[in-house]
Each structure stands twice: as C-alpha cells, then as structure tokens.
Amino acid sequence: MKVLVAVKRVVDYNVKVRVKADHSGVETANVKMSMNPFDEIGVEEAIRLKEKGTATEIIAVSMGPLQCQETIRTALAMGADRGILVQTDAELQPLAVAKLLKAIVAKEQPKLVILGKQAIDDDCNQTGQMLAALLGWPQGTFASKLVPAADALEVTREVDGGLETVEIKLPAVVTTDLRLNEPRYASLPNIMKAKKKPIETVTPEALGVDPAPRIATLKVTEPAKRSAGVKVPDVAALVDKLKNEAKVI
C-alpha cells in the first residue's frame, strides 16, 4: 500500500526561541530549522512498514515556503521515495493543512497517512484528526505501536492513564507519539541518493483550497521569567527550605 507522511519544517528543538520585540510572533529568521521530531517518527514508521513489506511507496509531503524542500529531502534521505511540496508563503493553520492534505490524498490515493501528533512550534495537535474527519476515515492518534492486520491496523495509543488499543479499518490516519520508534539517521550515501529523488511542487490554488487563516494572532508574549534562586550548602539546609520557606513537603 501507498503511505503518505506529512513533514513540517519547524524551529529546531534545541533552539531557544525568542519572542519578537514587536510581539508579532517568534523570531524565525537565521534560526536553525529541522523536521518536526514527531514527523521524523512518522517517516521512520513508514520506512519500517516498507521494510516489512506492508508499504510499497512512501510519499513525503510538506507545506510552506520553498525551504520546506530541505525537510522533504531529509525524509527522502531517511528512505521516503518521493516528495510533494505545497508551496506558499501564506500562514497555514491546521484546518488549511488538513484540507490541502485531503486534496493530495484524493490525487495519490494512499491507504495510510501518517503525521506527527503535534508540531513543536504551534503545539496544536489537530491536523491528523482534522484530516481524518474531512476524509471520513478512522484515526489512530498518539500511536506508540502499529500492527498491520488484513485491511486494518491495530494501533496502541498513549492515553493519559496508560495505553489504549484500537483497531481501525484502512484507509486510515495515524498520528505518532514518542514511543512509536527511534528515527534513524540518514547515511551519507542515502543523503546523496536523496538528491536524485523527485519532488513535485504544487500550490494551494492548484489544489483548489483556500488556506485563509481562521484564527488571528493578536500578540505573542514571553511567559513570566524564572529567576535563579539560592544555592544551599547541604541536604539539611535544603529540607529546611522546602519545609519552612517553600512549604512543598
């Protein structure tokens, strides 16, 4: 079966984000960008499905400015077969991304779409569920284990109190959680090979989707800062502070 994986270009998880002085957003110019870590897990899972013989072709899709090609190249270097870039400089919110993905699904007819459960920039945790709703497909969100069955998937999901396992019929949407797998590093030969893999570029207009945002960001501020406290000389002093000053034990 064909598998579609969605990959988002985000500020690298090791970067300390800074709020812009005019409070319009977060500084992203000259900041290291990487693939959203949850999406990396999605790419890895698709590759493992292919290695097991369940998946036949893996298509990596990204959306945004031209630089998102780099994110697709990373997926190709890990093992995806080809890429699709929905190129736009407009702000894309989860509902718009879900609609664009739906249009690509209509064209490519995958049996499974894998997305990260959330992007580490906007922390929305919405796109996979929205895509499933728009397609009328079942969803296996926050997956920590996938077991392919005949025309179905058994998905173990991370829920607040532990794990829940559901069986969903294919075609389906899956979103990944941390424990699903550990993504591989792309080897140098595979990085070289990825340069020759095709990336198709389309636009929201060509897909017939109006990506206009439904939510306006009025301002972005920094949360209250913590200041460094005191160093205590020994355990006795620490216990005293926790008991009598902080009153937390």
Partner: protein, 313 residues
C-alpha cells in the same frame, strides 16, 4: 450565547478535568450545557448536574458511544454544536483526540490548550512548549476549544441541572473498534498529574542508578521523570521523558537530579512551582531556573535527602 462542554468520564465516573473546563466556560460567559456521551454513563451525568453553573446536562447513553471513540462521537457533537457559540473539552488525550475532528466537521478552526480567556472570542494559549504565550482571536461562528486543566480551578458543586436524553439517533460508523486498555498500575502517580516529580538526567550514569531516585520519589509520593539525554542514553523508557518533545509537567515541586538543563528539558518543567537542582557542575544552566540548588555528588546527596525526609506512607 451558550456553551456546550463535553464531559470526560470513564467507568470510574466523571473526570475532574471536566470541572476545570466548566470553569473556563464560566469565564467565557453564557449558559453552560454539558454533554455526557458514552455507554452506561448516567452516573457521570448526574454528577455533573450538581456542578455550579451548569444549566442543562445532555445525556447520550448508547452502546455506539462505548469507549467514546471519536469516529462515533464527533458527528454527534458536530450536530449538537449548531445550537451553541462554543464547544469546550478538556485538553486531555480524550479532548485532543476528539475536538479537532469535531471542528473539521463544522469547518471551523480549533483552539488548543487554552490557559486564559480574554474575551468570548479571544484566548491565551502556550506555543513552543510554553516558551511563548499567544493571544489568539477566532473568526469562526462556533469556537471549538480545548482547555488546559492546570490553568483553571475546578468548578465547585452546588447546582441542580436537569438531565435530558439526547434525541439524535446514534450511528456507529463501524470504522474503529476498541480492543483493550492497559492503564498504568504504577504505585507512583502519573507524571503529568503528580504534585512532586523527581527527574534524572545523564548524570545518573545508568538505568540501574535510577533506583536511588525511585527511593526518593517513594518517600515523597512523587512521580519519576527523566531528561531526553537520559532517555537517549537508554537509562529509562521514552515515557519518562520531560521536555519539549516529551511530557510537559507543572508540579508543586520538581527535583532535577544530574540534569544539566538543556533548553528542551527546561521547556517541559519550567512552570513548576518550586524547582530543586542537584548537580556536580555549578555552572549547569539548571541552576539558573532552580529555586534551590545543591552543588555536589548526586550519589551522596540523593540518599542523604531520602533519609532526611519523613515517610509519606
């Protein structure tokens, strides 16, 4: 204007997160109805009817809603939502799984994980794992919102709302089915709900050494967490991870042991009320966010601390 709150409940009854969500609804203002959907959930409906501010409880008690799978629940909620200005649910794995599906069926955006209400259409929510706060305004007719429980106090008891059965016929789309549930049976509290968290980092040296943290945690009635470095080194499993790509925690007391304080870890715990750092490197960045720090050998300090604490049990 009226608000529909989606109750979270399980076999054990109403979940407390529902009460925090009702409080957020009260902040928005308007009549609050609560939907309790599931199978055999009359008890939860009667419990939520007694909460202050609730004017009506809608009960959808049907085998099709057993285990509250989103494929069956979302169409029901989308139908009911037409009569409301807002639909709210807790930002738990239950609400996060369900609400974007509802929003997409309504062709509206969803606003995730709000921590503040500025106006009926304007909310504050953390982005970048809480490293920034965004104030966002919805332009949609129906606002579909999930609520971070720790940001709103629980709505108190004191109401007496009528419980009405939902007239909508239930249809199970038959796309998904519940197989099983394995809830963690740890003696220790859940990481994201614990009042105290004890976390270890690369400085722990090995997974075996986490035993000294577990002893400390048990003395405090605390959960055990870890930094990404400790997880990557294979000391503990992934679900221990606190940080931007792991779990976000905000306990009353967070004890960071052998954790240097990488940005991505700080993102997951900096909203803790009191932070204690134990590290041999006095230059470690963790000390810049810690209320109390001890510089020294954790293998000496942690057992000493455990011994100095009175037992909670």
């Amino acid at each position: 204007m009226s608000i529909l709150v989606i109750a979270e409940h399980d076999a054990g009854g109403l979940k407390p997160s529902t009460l925090n969500t009702i409080n957020a609804a009260a902040k928005i203002g308007g009549d609050i109805s609560v939907l309790v959907a599931g199978a055999g959930c009359r008890g939860a409906a009667e419990a939520v009817a007694k909460i202050t501010g609730v004017v009506k409880v809608l009960l959808a008690d049907n085998a099709a809603y057993a285990h509250q799978l989103p494929e069956a629940l979302a169409p029901l909620i989308a139908k009911l939502a037409a009569a409301y200005g807002h639909v709210l649910a807790p930002a738990s794995t239950f609400g996060k799984n369900l609400m974007p599906r509802v929003a997409a069926l309504l062709d509206v955006a969803q606003i995730s994980d709000i921590v503040g209400v500025e106006a009926p259409d304007t909310f504050v929510r953390p982005i970048y794992a809480g490293n920034a706060l965004a104030t966002v305004q919805s332009k949609d007719k129906i606002k579909v919102v999930t609520v971070r429980g720790t940001a709103f106090p629980a709505a108190p008891a004191g109401g007496n709302a009528p419980v009405e059965a939902v007239a909508e016929a239930a249809a199970d789309p038959g796309q998904s089915k519940f197989v099983r549930q394995e809830l963690s049976k740890s003696e220790r509290p859940e990481l994201t709900a614990a009042r105290i968290v004890v976390s270890g980092g690369r400085g722990m040296g090995s997974g075996d050494n986490f035993k000294i943290l577990e002893a400390l945690a048990d003395k405090l009635g605390a959960a055990v967490g870890a930094s990404r470095a400790a997880v990557d080194a294979g000391f503990v499993a992934n679900d221990y991870q606190v940080g931007q790509t792991g779990k976000i925690v905000a306990p009353d007391l967070y004890i960071a042991v052998g954790i240097s304080g990488a940005i991505q870890h700080l993102a997951g715990m900096k909203d803790s009320k009191v932070i204690v750092a134990i590290n041999k490197d006095e230059e470690a960045p963790i000390f810049q966010v810690a209320d109390y720090g001890i510089v020294g050998d954790l293998f000496k300090i942690v057992p000493e601390l455990t011994a100095a604490l009175p037992s909670k049990r």
